[in-house]
Each structure stands twice: as C-alpha cells, then as structure tokens.
C-alpha cells in the first residue's frame, strides 16, 4: 500500500515577499515532501526576497523537500535566472 502526500501550497503575498518566504521557511518540517509556492501575486522581487528564496532552497535541499514555484511571470523568472536561483526550483504554470 502506498500513501500519496498532497503537496503543501503557500500563496506568496506580493507586498511582503521576503516575510512570506521567511514564514514558509519556518514552517518547513524535517522530512521529505513537496512544496508549492504560488507567485501569482508577485510582480517585483527585492534582494532580501532573493536571499530568502536562496535560504529556502538550501533548507529544502537539506530536508529533501522539493519546491515548485507556480505563477511566476517572465520578468520575475528572468530575475531568478540572473540571481542564479532558477535552477534550484521547478516551475509550474
């Protein structure tokens, strides 16, 4: 018998991206799983938020979490590429 664990989904507040990502990071339990971050409301991303994303990716790696970003617009996607963070996440449309 196999158990399917539904991925945990968080909507990221476009006005408070850094705080939202820090809050997600605090909620990550140890163990494996899948996390979806909904970026639909994010239209601009500050250096602090980029650092928070990087930290999140690091914690996810350590805990075998997989993180997918959903609803990332192409402008934010380019920023993630420039910051060399795009490769650390998968992307859902």
């Amino acid at each position: 018998m196999t158990t399917t664990i539904a991925p945990v989904c968080f909507a990221i507040d476009g006005e408070r991206v850094t705080q939202a990502l820090q809050s997600v990071r605090e909620k990550l339990d140890s163990g494996s799983g899948e996390l979806i971050l909904d970026f639909s409301a994010v239209h601009r991303i500050a250096p602090g938020a980029l650092r928070a994303l990087e930290a999140l990716a690091r914690v996810a790696d350590e805990n075998s979490f997989k993180i997918a970003l959903r609803g990332v617009n192409v402008e934010i996607y380019k920023v993630l590429k420039l910051a060399q963070l795009a490769g650390r996440f998968s992307f859902l449309s």
């Binding site: 991303i45 500050a46 250096p47 602090g48 980029l50 380019k78 420039l82 060399q84």
Partner: protein, 883 residues
C-alpha cells in the same frame, strides 16, 4: 589568476564570493527597475555628491598627499553635476533610442556586476562618477580603490550607496573591497559572474584587466602634446595651459606634457608664462629636474612627484624658484629616452620645444604622441584652420582639444560639448577597445531590435514604347540633326534599314553602320563609337535582334562617356541598388537611343542589359544598368514577319522563360507580375500560331508584344536558375540560348515548385510562393486542376506539350551529346551555372548538386523530371497572385 599569484585562503575566497553573490543578487533585483525608478535614485545621489564634494576632496588630499583640495572639490562637482547634466535626460532602461525610418529600436540590457578599479590621482571623483553611471544603468559595482586612496574612496562609495538605497536602489548594489591585494583583484577579474571590468588606473591595472579575458574598459596612459602655433591667441593659450597643467597639480592624465612652440613666438610665449608665475628652467635645471622626477631605469615619472606642487618639486630637484611658482617649464631639444622630460608627468612640470617650422612642430607633436600617449589626448592652439586639420590628421588621440585646456577640456562638458567623463578611452593605440569618453552607454549591453524592412522596389521602363504594325512611323516624331542607324547585313539586304530610313523626318542626316550579325565584340563597339563621334550623332537607331541592340547600348555608353571602363562596369553585384561600381553620369555627348527589335524574344529594346564578347579573353561581358535602357522602343511586327521557324521557336521560348522566371523571382512585384502573367498567356496562345502560320499577322504581333512585355517584367524582377543553367550549357555545347532555355524549362518549374532545400533570403517575400504562382498561371491559362500540386503539374504538362508542338528536342541527349561527354562537362557546367548571376533572384537557392540533378533531368528529357515533394500539397489556390 596571475601565474605568479599566491593562492588565496579559503576565508578570503569566501569573502570575495560573498561580495560577488551580494552584487549579483542586487543586480538581479535592480533589473526590474524602470527608467523613472533609476532617475529617482540618481538625482539625490548627485546632490549628496555635490554636498560632500569638499569633504571628500579633503579626505582625498589628506590620505593621498596628492593634488589640490580646491581642485579636487571642483572635480567632485564636475563628476556629479556635469555628469548628471549629461545623463539626466538619457534613456538607459528599456527602449533607449528609436529609428522609425530604419525600423530599428535600441534596448538597454544591464551588464550585471561590474568590477571597478579607481586611481589614486582622481579617487573620489572617479567613484562618484562611476556610482552615478552604474545606478543610471541598473548595474551593481564592486569597487577596488587604489590602496593609497582606500579611505576616501570607501567613504565616497558609502555616501553614494546609502543615498541610492534610501531612494530605492537594491541593497548590495555597491560594495568596496575592505582591503585588497593584486590576488584579490585577479580573482574578481576572472570571476564568472563579473560582467565587465572598468579599470581606471595605472598601466598595470589596465593591462591586468585586459589580460583577464573579460570585457574591460581600460584607460591608457597619456602624454599630451600641445602645438602652440604662431596664429594662436597667445594670452589665452598661456592661461589655458597653466590652468590645465596646474589643475589638481597636473594629476589628470589628459593634462599638457610638452608644448611645441613656433620659433617666431617662442620667446614671447615663455615671457608670458614667466609673467604668470612660471619658472623657466635653464639647461642645467632642466637636467636636474629630469634626473629627479623621471626614473632613469624605467623612463617613467617618479611616483613621489605625482600631484605635488611646483615649488616642492623644484625643491626636490635643487632648483631655486620664486615663492608662489605654480609651474616649472623645462625646454627640451627632442623626444625620447635622451630627453627624460618628454614623457608623461602628472605634476606641474611642462616640457617646451622650439620649432623652426610648422612641419617640424607637427613632427615633434607626433613623436610626443607616440612616446606613451597614443590614443589619449592632444591639444592645438591656432587660428589657422589648415594647421588645426593637419594636426588632427597626424595625431592619434581620442580627444583633440582645440584652443582650450587639455585636462579640463578632455573631461568634457566644461570647455566643449564632449561627453563628461572621468575615464578616457584610448583606442587601440592605448590598448583600449574605444576612444570614447567612457559614459553610461559603455555600462550597457545595447540590444538592437531590427524590424523587417522590405527593400525599396522599382519598376523602370523606357519613356516611350510604340507597338503594333507600322509603329516605326512614329520615328517622324523624333527630330534629329544626325542619326546613325546600327543594323546587320541581312536586315539591310531585305530592306528593313530602308524602311527605317524612310520613316525618319525628311531633313534628318542619316548614316548607316552595319555590324556583323553576331554578339558584338569590343572591336565592333569601338568602330561604332568612332562612327558616332565622326557623325556627331544625336540619335542612334538600333535595328535588329538582341545582339544589335546590345551593341548599340554599349556604343551609346562609350560615345557619351568615353571614360567608361567596360570591364569595371561588368563587375558582379548582388543588389543593383547597392552595387559597388556606378555607371558614369558625366557625359561629353548626348544622344537618343531608339531600339527597334526584329526578333520576338530577348526584349532588349526595353531592358537595361547588354552582352558583349571579349574575344581576346574568350568571355562574355554582361553590363546591367538602367542607364543602358533605350529611350524609345519600337515594337513593330512588320520586322518579324519573315523570321524563320527556328528563330521563332528559340526566341519565343526565351520570351516564355523570361516571363515564367520573372513571375516567381524574389524581386517579383505586383507591377512585374501583371506583365509576366500577360506574357505567359500570350506565348501559350500565339507562339504555336506564329510557328505554324508564320504569316499570321495577329500571332506575330502578339508574340512581338509578348517578348517586350516579358522583358519589362524581367528588367525589373530579373530571371532565375533556368537562365543560369542555359547560359552555362549553351556556351559549353554551342546551343542557341532559347533552345537551351527550352530544354531546362519543365524541369526548372518542377524544381521551383518543390520544397526548397535552401530558401533564398528575400525581405520582399512573406512566404515561399513559387508553386502558388505557377498554379495561378495554370489557372489563367485555364489548365484545370484542383490543388496547387495538380495545377503545377498541369503547367509543366502544358509547357511540355508546347515544346513538343514547336518541335523542340525532348532531351539534351537528343541533341547528340553523349552521356560520357555530358558527364565530363558536368563540373564545368555546374561551376559556371553557379557563377552565373541569373539564379540570384530565383526563389529557390540552388545547391551545386541540384544544378547537376537539373542538368541530368534535362539530359534524360521531358517527362522524366524527378518528382519532388510539393511545397504545399493538396492546397487550394486562394491566395493573391502578387506577394
């Protein structure tokens, strides 16, 4: 890393990586900012820099012990206010420039992370300048100040950073190495995430930057020559030179180094310098000075002298000067190692040279320029425009400053309208990639969005075309003092020349020049030109087939423009509008060319082409230019009524080939299509009639018109691969042009209607349409068929039936050419066909192997053409004919 560099510790690498990571993140975030965002940040930065100009100048002087506080404060203000004045309205985000008439848009893309070296001589001003440029262009910068100016630079970076972040710049946008070694610099210069190195500093730093393999902006050393010419405003020149050379104690690398003075004014000039607080060294003092401030081992200036006061330098050298002396002038007698003071001196010591002539003065300036100052800056004081231009020609400098101070002039924006900068590009002479004053555009990747712009098209025909039976009578409308008729023996014998002669106005002096009935060669052309000159012709009438009319075109060209070099004019070209060789427009004679065609094929009476033979070299020379087009064309069928059957077929098929090729040409337009299609229709209808009933006046008339109409089409749309194949084959095996075309024609239609292996680049075509245009022609001929493919097949079949009906051999083999001979000839055939310019307007770009396949297909004969993949199968033809 440099080869001899010590390895960096893990901690140091982590520190440097942290700086890069921070800058990368900042640059990534910064890329989201709009033009309004960056402009909102830049303005308060500039104001902060202005407010702190004196403070930063004081820090710089205290730390470096170089330069003058007041001047450094001024430099800080120029670096902020003047630079802002230049950049404030410049677009540096998104679309930065548009050229609607060219369909071009330039878009800005930030570089990302810039690693920036700053110098000891202009420390804070350079930092302020670079910070403003970086923010304006959305880049992050890691600064590496010269170690002896670290404190003042890091303070300048701090002020700029805090102001920038306060107004919306991303955190981490500027960082400053806390301390550094050459190894740190090398590590960062080679770092994969550093996009650009901006090295303003000594030759070592610049060389390291360029050697890193990274894109770099490096500023070369200077050695500014000044020519003070006798017509100059001497008072202005002396004050300007003193102002410039003493500015910040001569630390700006664009400042004057050697002033070359005309003999006539030399003494007066030195007196003026002396009167304004300059000490003029005697020979002994000059030698003492040279030994003190120039390192004899390297030939370069001693660092301890850089940016020091004149009085202090005099003291070092043991020279006694008056209090308040602001500049030391050292007369020298040459340039080079024997004259140590002829090199760059970033302190208030100026060499002067007495020149006996302008030539000597310019030569010395060239020597100074090439003694370490290539590509940098040069100055000329003169009111003689010729001298100023000669100076500009012989001196290699990115900045040639006229009648103004070198250092402040080169900075831009104060004495002239050059771009304000604190970084001078020195071009290849200085080992740099640019001679520009470095500015915001050098901190951007400029993307050019180029919209498709269809090339301008044209439709050119003779001014007047007279057609139908007895059209020759229109000659009465062309008065002339002296008319020369050019024709050939058979036409004279059958009375055609007399018909023309009788049609001319009675008072016209008429002479007849008979040329052989063959492609003209250069001798025949020369004889014709001689006749035109002898008779002072103001009108030339060409009566004949293509050869006679072509000969007359070339005769007219040489008669009107004897200097025309036919070989040069025959140079190949790809696009007639961009051709290298231009036909002469200056004329010593003027004449009207009237062309009366006596065959119904070439259409030479309306074309801009002329072919002649160079018998000596055994080649054909094709001339093409619209100036060759006859002024008047007469298309009178009475001259073709007696054409033999063979000639009727060969010329008729040539005409059909012109029309079909013009129809699918990449230069086809609605203007040419209408002619091409009409000609195709006329040929299919009337050529068999003219062939089978040579006396049928209507058929002859319509075929004569068809030839002219097809020629109008191909004069403007050109021909295609069929002609290239036929030219090569006809020349190799002595087959008439029209017949050679006929043998290739069905195979070429099938070839062009198939999916091309290679498309021909063509901005005028929106899609591959050759097959659809063939299908449209099939429709107009009423051939039937439902799909494009079927219609193309019907057109091929109809063409084959036409050729059969006209008795054209079905294959090359039928001409009696053996397979072995043909195989042996194939390399030459394909080579010459590929060299032929005709195919360059073909819709499908032929590969050489495809040319060979077409030849073999024609060798095997009609009905054996390789069935190729149709371009668009099973498609109904609904599109417009014209594209």
């Amino acid at each position: 890393m440099p080869e001899n560099a010590a390895p960096l510790s893990e901690e140091r690498i982590a520190y440097l990586e942290g700086l890069v990571s921070q800058a990368r993140t900042a640059a990534a975030a910064f890329s989201q900012c709009t033009q309004e965002d960056v402009d909102r940040i830049v303005k308060p930065m500039v104001i902060a820099g202005l407010k702190q100009a004196q403070y930063l100048a004081r820090l710089a002087v205290e730390e470096t012990h170089i330069g003058v506080l007041e001047d450094k404060a001024l430099k800080n203000m120029v670096a902020t206010e003047f630079v802002y004045n230049y950049v404030k309205d410049k677009r540096t985000v998104g679309v930065i420039r548009e050229y609607p008439e060219r369909g071009l848009i330039e878009l800005a893309e930030p570089i990302g992370v810039i690693f920036s070296l700053t110098p000891i001589t202009n420390p804070t001003s350079t930092v302020l300048f670079k910070c403003i440029m970086a923010i304006k262009t959305r880049n992050a910068v890691i600064f590496s100040p010269h170690p002896s100016s670290w404190h003042c630079c890091s303070e300048a970076v701090r002020i700029m950073y805090e102001t920038a972040v306060k107004h919306g710049a991303p955190e981490g946008v500027f960082t400053c190495l806390e301390s550094h070694t050459l190894e740190d610099n090398a590590y960062l210069m080679h770092h994969k995430d550093v996009g650009l190195i901006d090295a303003t500093g000594g030759p070592g730093a610049v060389k390291a930057a360029y050697s890193s393999g990274k894109p770099a902006l490096g500023v070369g050393p200077g050695n500014t020559p000044v020519y003070l010419e006798k017509t100059a405003d001497l008072d202005m020149a002396v004050v300007d030179i003193i102002t410039s050379k003493t500015f910040d104690n001569g630390t700006i690398c664009a400042s004057e180094q050697t002033v070359v003075i005309d003999d006539e004014i030399y003494d007066r000039v030195l007196k003026k310098f002396a009167d304004l607080g300059t000490h003029i060294c005697n020979e002994k003092e000059t030698a003492q000075l040279g030994r003190t401030v120039i390192d004899p081992a390297t030939g370069f200036m001693q660092p301890m002298a850089v940016g020091q006061k004149a009085a202090d330098i005099a003291r070092f050298a043991g020279i006694s000067v008056k209090p308040g002396t602001k500049l030391l002038i050292a007369p020298i007698k040459g340039v080079g190692r024997e004259y140590p003071l002829s090199v760059e001196k970033l302190f208030p010591v100026l060499a002067v040279y007495r020149a006996k002539s302008a030539d000597e003065a310019l030569k010395v300036c060239v020597d100074v320029n090439r003694a370490g100052g290539l590509g940098h800056t040069a100055v000329v004081f003169s009111n003689n425009q010729e001298i100023i231009h000669r100076f500009g020609d012989v001196i290699n400098a990115g900045r040639i400053i006229v009648n103004s101070p070198g250092s402040i002039g080169a900075l831009g924006g104060v004495y002239n309208d050059m771009v304000p900068t604190f970084s001078f590009g020195c071009g290849t002479g200085g080992g740099n990639s640019t001679t520009d004053n470095i500015n915001v555009y050098h901190y951007l990747n400029i993307k050019r969005m180029a919209r498709r712009t269809p090339a301008h098209m044209w439709f050119r025909v003779p001014n007047q075309i007279y057609f139908n039976m007895n059209a020759v009578e229109n000659l009465r409308n062309f008065p002339s003092r002296s008319t020369v008729i050019i024709s050939n023996p058979p036409l004279e014998q059958i009375g055609h020349v007399d018909i023309v002669r009788r049609s001319l106005p009675p008072q016209t002096q008429v002479r007849v020049t008979i040329i052989p009935d063959a492609e003209p060669d250069i001798k025949i052309i020369a004889q014709g030109v001689e006749a035109l000159n002898f008779y002072k012709a103001d009108q030339i009438i060409a009566l004949g087939g293509g050869s006679v009319i072509d000969a007359a075109k070339i005769m007219k060209l040489k008669y009107e423009s004897p200097q025309a070099d036919l070989e040069e004019l025959a140079a190949p070209f790809l696009d007639i509008r961009k051709r290298v060789v231009q036909y002469p427009t200056e004329k010593v004679n003027h004449s009207r060319l009237i062309a009366i065609s006596t065959t119904s094929g070439t259409g030479s009476e309306v074309t801009p082409f002329a072919v002649m033979t160079d018998k000596e070299r055994g080649i054909k020379v094709t001339l093409a230019d619209y100036s060759l087009t006859p002024d008047v064309a007469i298309v009178d069928p009475q001259f073709v009524m007696s054409m033999p059957k063979g000639l009727t077929v060969d010329t008729g098929i040539d005409c059909l080939t012109h029309a079909l090729e013009a129809g699918v040409s990449i230069y086809a337009s609605p203007y040419t299509d209408s002619n091409a299609v009409q000609a195709v229709r006329l040929v299919f209808k009337y050529l068999p009639e003219a062939y089978e009933n040579p006396g049928d006046e209507e058929a002859r008339t319509m075929m004569h018109n068809a030839a002219c109409i097809a020629a109008i089409a191909f004069s403007n749309a050109s021909v295609g691969v069929n002609h290239a194949l036929a030219h090569s084959f006809g020349a190799r095996f002595g087959v008439a042009h029209g017949r050679a075309n006929a043998l290739m024609l069905p195979h070429v239609i099938a070839y062009n209607a198939a999916v091309p292996t290679k498309f021909m680049p063509s901005p005028n075509q929106r899609a591959y349409v050759a097959h659809k245009k063939y299908a449209m022609m099939a429709d107009l001929l009423g051939l039937g068929g439902h799909t494009v493919e079927e219609k193309v097949q019907k057109l091929i079949a109809a063409t084959e039936q036409l050729l059969d009906r006209l008795g054209v051999p079905r294959s090359i083999a039928e001409l009696g050419i053996s397979k072995e001979d043909f195989e042996r000839a194939m390399p030459e055939l394909t080579k010459n066909a590929f060299d032929d310019p005709s195919w360059r307007s073909n819709p499908r770009m032929p590969l050489i192997t495809e040319l060979a396949e077409l030849y073999w297909s024609a060798y095997r004969g009609r009905g054996t053409a390789k069935k190729e993949e149709p371009a668009v199968p099973k498609q109904q033809v609904k599109e417009e004919l014209c594209v």
